[in-house]
């Protein structure tokens, strides 16, 4: 089913009109015989947060490192702010890299430098005077909420604080693009949430474009505007986050989502049989304004009633995304009518099986 919602089409058209900060087309990168990047085309628009998700080894780091020339593609075109970078020499890449900030899973702060010296390092490389760069570092530390730690060494900071320093450092030279390679993967859930909040804040305040890679859908859900799914070096799915969550088309996306979407509870799944005996179990997916009122409508339409086994409505980018598991009594035409009603209202319905004894 294609998306029934006019907003989706509208948003996509809007994105096409927006300026591209990064435009990849047909990028390949092989290590020996194994392709790490196998023909990737991807655009990152100005001001958006694009999440790139994939399993470990999918090629995420290789791809992100191609964007600032740390990795060189074998083939394909990489344009940063409209400029082709694939032919550039190391010396030509250096000024370009100052337009691109990067943060890392293990923070990569210099242990021999204080927090403010770390933040000021990109400016030192640009040739700023000590006084000016320390003033700028102070501003950035203020932005990330670490003003009090300017003279500390990184070893005295917690993981979350280290990543804040990493973010301040990445922003020091006023980049057009921020690359994040699993920046929250080494952090606990609470700290992760705080760091993602900070990134979102910076995106809103500074209009900074962010390309964020992760293996966790949770991260995508809480921060990204758009998501691209990478598997074995290829982009297999791409779209607004809510729409990919509502309607994951590939097995890899479904499996990446499986941890954070409602499941049929284990004890029900164990009793499922295919023979038509007992209660019929349906899996229902729906997104959009109807999602919240679907069940109320269904109970009106279904004389025999139904049982909500599991699931609910969540809100992603102001879109309602619903996923329910329903048990319908087998009596007469109940199940058929339920399916018809749900599909008429735009839901994707899957008959999962029957639970004997529940009738």
């Amino acid at each position: 089913m294609t998306s029934p919602f006019p907003q989706a089409g509208g948003a996509e058209q809007g994105e096409n009109r927006r300026e591209a900060v990064v435009r990849l087309s047909g990028v390949h990168r092989h290590f020996g015989d194994t392709p790490a990047i196998d023909g990737v085309s991807l655009t990152v628009h100005k001001g958006e947060i694009l999440g790139l998700i994939g399993r470990s080894g999918a090629g995420k780091s290789t791809l992100i490192r191609c964007l600032n020339g740390l990795e060189r593609p074998d083939r394909g075109s990489i344009k940063i702010e409209g400029r082709e970078i694939t032919g550039l020499s190391e010396e030509q890449l250096q000024p370009l890299r100052r337009r691109i900030g990067m943060i890392f899973q293990h923070f990569n702060l210099l242990s021999a430098k204080t927090v403010e010296e770390n933040v000021a390092l990109p400016l030192k490389i640009e040739g700023w005077s000590t006084e000016k760069r320390l003033a700028r570092a102070a501003e950035l530390l203020d932005l990330v909420g670490l003003s009090g730690k300017a003279r500390s060494y990184p070893s005295a900071l917690s993981g979350g604080q280290k990543q804040r320093v990493g973010i301040a450092r990445a922003l020091a030279a006023g980049p057009a693009l921020l690359l994040s390679d699993e920046a929250t993967s080494a952090l606990d859930p609470e700290t992760t949430a705080a760091i993602l909040e900070l990134l979102k804040d910076i995106n809103a305040k500074l209009g900074l474009t962010i390309l964020l890679i992760t293996h966790e859908m949770e991260v995508i859900r809480s921060i990204a505007d758009r998501v691209a799914v990478i598997d074995a070096g290829r982009i297999v799915e791409e779209g607004p986050v809510w729409s990919v969550f509502a309607n994951p088309r590939t097995a890899i996306t479904q499996s990446l989502l499986s941890g954070i979407r409602p499941h049929l509870p284990q004890h029900v799944a164990a009793r499922l049989v295919s023979e038509p005996v007992g209660e019929v179990v349906l899996g229902v997916d729906l997104s959009g304004p109807d999602a919240g009122v679907l069940l109320a409508g269904l109970s009106g339409a279904l004389a025999g009633g139904f049982r909500l086994i599991h699931g609910g409505v969540e809100h992603i980018q102001q879109q309602s995304v619903a996923r329910f598991f329903l048990g319908i009594p087998p009596a007469s035409d109940g199940p058929a009518r339920a399916v018809a009603y749900l599909e008429r209202h735009g839901a994707k319905v899957e008959v999962l099986g029957h639970v004997p004894g529940h009738d």
Partner: protein
Amino acid sequence: MSPVMIELFIRSFFETVIMTVASGFISLVAGLPLGLALVATAKGGIAENLWINRLLGAIVNGFRSVPFIILLVALIPVTRFIVGTSIGMWAAIVPLSIAATPYYARMAEVSLREVDRGLIEAVRAMGGNRWTIVREVLVPEALPSLVAGFTVTLITLIGASAMAGAIGAGGLGDLAIRYGYQRFETTVMVAVVAVLIVLVCAIQWAGDRLVLRLDHKH
């Protein structure tokens, strides 16, 4: 010990210190860049060049595999060319430096190689060039370990300078051989050993203190 002996002792002590410090300084100034070159030209290094890497490695190994006492004799023509004589403290500094440089280069190589590659990556990503990486990452991050290695080199040099006494280099080693060993003056021998122990301990202590002050990793 007689006053003459004491004066000789003090002079020998300073000769040992000067030989150690001078050849230590030269091995630092020459060995650190050599260590950097070994790390930079290695596979995956910031200036990868395997041919140069192998060549440098072979030269370093060549010097390191020759026993010092043989190097001492073999280098006599070189020493004579540089210093004008092959005898005395200044002459001994040449073989000492030539032996200590590849020794320290290997120590520095190990220290520099242990710097987290992620840090190099981070500085490359912010637009730093090779020189920036050397100055802002490799050397500062390896500094505590470089200092620890230099401490070991200095202590090794004290021992080697005593051996250089065999070709009349002066210093405490020379004194111990000529008076303590050849003339059976046990007091001189004991005093030399005691002073050497104190000297080694002092250098180790100072080195350890410095490493502790420089290390912000923990």
